[in-house]
């Protein structure tokens, strides 16, 4: 084995990655991204909805994937409220509700939205695929009460939601893995008349190209997809009392991270190349190398 690599302590690489990320992030330079086709489709599908339409927004993520998905989730809430769309919020991952409650509590007042009329939080439903099958077939039996234990009678928005996804024109999921967008496609996409959109973590993004665009109208892939979408959604968001757009801070933060992302990728590519160069130059020439 190459002696150079064998006794090279990998903690130097850890240090290099840590220093690169901290220093570049502190530099705070942000960069704009061109929007991919699937991000533009995601945005266009939202724009095409008539005001007052009901959207089922599902939080299928946890703290480990919040870094990529929470900015998308905030952007979607702003975009939906800005276009006067009504939101039914559910979650199939147990660790998601605290995130969604906090975002709705922060964003809804900016658009003067009232709970029960403009949005409803139904909370976490256990069972993975079974939870999605239950939501698809009948939201009423899936959730006897909302997340604040008020019954359906006191939630005017839910009066317009029937069974078999009647009344719901669009389903958006912030999907971190299983259960996520692939299970929504299987349990709801093929059975009911509802359009599907997804925001996914980087790990799951390649899977979506098998379903895009016919079974999945559009999607936001990874932190880069989030940044591209925020660039489209920020101008639509409400103005803060200070005159700044409500989404500008989140968009700028994501754009600031793109530069760090870029150089981290360059570092990893360099490590692969250098590692291979050393490996091939010092490999035992007697052909004893493994296949």
């Amino acid at each position: 084995m190459a002696s150079v690599i064998a006794n090279f302590d990998r903690r130097w690489i850890f240090l290099a990655v840590g220093l690169l990320v901290v220093s570049l992030y502190a530099a705070g330079i942000s960069s704009e991204l061109p929007e991919s086709e699937y991000v533009r489709d995601f945005h266009a599908t939202l724009e095409a909805l008539p005001p007052g339409a009901i959207v089922l927004l599902s939080a299928d993520f946890d703290p480990a994937s919040a870094a990529e998905l929470l900015p998308m989730y905030q952007g979607v809430i702003h975009h939906l409220f800005a276009r006067d769309l009504r939101i039914v919020n559910v979650a199939t991952w147990p660790a998601a509700p605290p995130f969604t409650q906090k975002e709705f509590a922060r964003i809804a007042p900016l658009y003067g939205k009232t709970y029960g009329v403009d949005w409803v939080e139904l909370g976490f439903l256990p069972g993975d695929d079974v939870a999605m099958g239950s939501i698809g077939q009948s939201l009423r039996s899936a959730y006897p009460r909302d997340d604040r234990r008020t019954s359906w009678a006191d939630l005017p928005l839910l009066a317009d939601v029937g069974d078999n996804m009647r009344g719901i024109s669009l389903l958006i999921t912030a999907s971190a893995g299983y259960p996520g967008i692939l299970e929504w496609i299987a349990q709801v996409g093929g059975r009911y008349d509802v359009t599907l959109l997804a925001g996914t973590t980087a790990v799951q993004t390649p899977d979506l190209f098998a379903f895009y665009p016919l079974q999945l109208k559009g999607f936001l892939g990874a932190a880069t997809g989030a940044t591209q979408y925020l660039q489209l959604a920020a101008p639509l968001a409400a103005r803060l009392p200070t005159g700044e757009g409500a989404l500008d801070e989140v968009r700028d933060e994501n754009q600031r991270r793109m530069l760090v992302q870029s150089w981290a990728h360059i570092l990893i590519l360099a490590l692969i190349v250098v590692g291979n160069v050393i490996y091939f130059r010092t490999r035992v020439p007697t052909g004893a190398a493994r296949r």
Binding site: I13, F209, G275
Partner: protein
């Protein structure tokens, strides 16, 4: 009796859900909704059983003087403390004034935001370091397959970030778009179709009562 009834239950419930998929009208949809609710209840109870198992093993380790006993004690203290706070909130054992001001999720959300989020997020962010060290020490273009993989990986890594286009004059993102839609799209579709045949095979064997392995737990 110990094996025939469970298999009968599996077959009956499985066929009921299958029937309601192909004929979703009338009583079949009511039966399906009830069975889905039952499955959610049993899924939750089974999960709670798993936790009882963890607590039992940890207690045994502590009493046996396991090396990490102090840490196990901390774990059990945190577990029961948070559990108690949560149950108090769920069942309203807290003073009315407190719940009035903070709602019935404040304590749990505080623990989630200040303890669970940083721990789980940082645990997974360690992988960024491991990928970097594996990139240098283990990812070798030892065969045509591995070379193709690393090259496609490089195209994605460059095409997704602005610096890629600057370095390659815009070709990185166009190559990425081609790779993702026309090669990765085909590969993913074939992998997913193959995996679905596996799910169909297992599903048929369970719903028709042939698969018995899950009973031997």
């Amino acid at each position: 009796m110990k094996r025939e009834i469970p298999i009968l239950l599996t077959v009956l419930c499985g066929l009921a859900v299958t029937w309601s998929f192909f004929s979703p009208v009338g009583v079949s949809s009511a039966m399906n909704a009830e069975l889905l609710d039952w499955a959610q209840v049993f899924f939750s109870v089974a999960f709670l059983l798993g936790i009882a198992n963890l607590v039992r093993i940890s207690l045994k380790q502590v009493t046996a003087g396991h090396a990490d006993s102090p840490y196990k004690l901390v774990m059990l203290a945190v577990l029961f403390g948070y559990l108690l706070a949560g149950l108090a909130e769920i069942h309203g054992w807290l003073p009315a004034a407190f719940t009035e001001e903070h709602g019935n999720k404040a304590l749990r959300n505080w623990g989630h935001a200040k303890i669970f989020v940083p721990l789980q997020a940082t645990m997974f962010s360690l992988l960024a370091f491991y990928i970097a060290s594996a990139a240098f020490r283990a990812f070798r273009a030892r065969s045509l397959e591995a070379t193709l993989l690393l090259t496609a990986g490089a195209v994605v890594m460059l095409g997704q970030v602005p610096i890629g286009d600057e370095l390659t004059g815009g070709w990185a993102s166009r190559a990425l778009a081609f790779l993702m839609v026309h090669v990765n799209g085909a590969g993913q579709k074939a992998i997913i179709m193959g995996a679905t045949l596996g799910v169909l095979a297992t599903g048929l064997r369970i719903v028709l009562g042939i698969e018995r392995s899950y009973l031997s737990e």
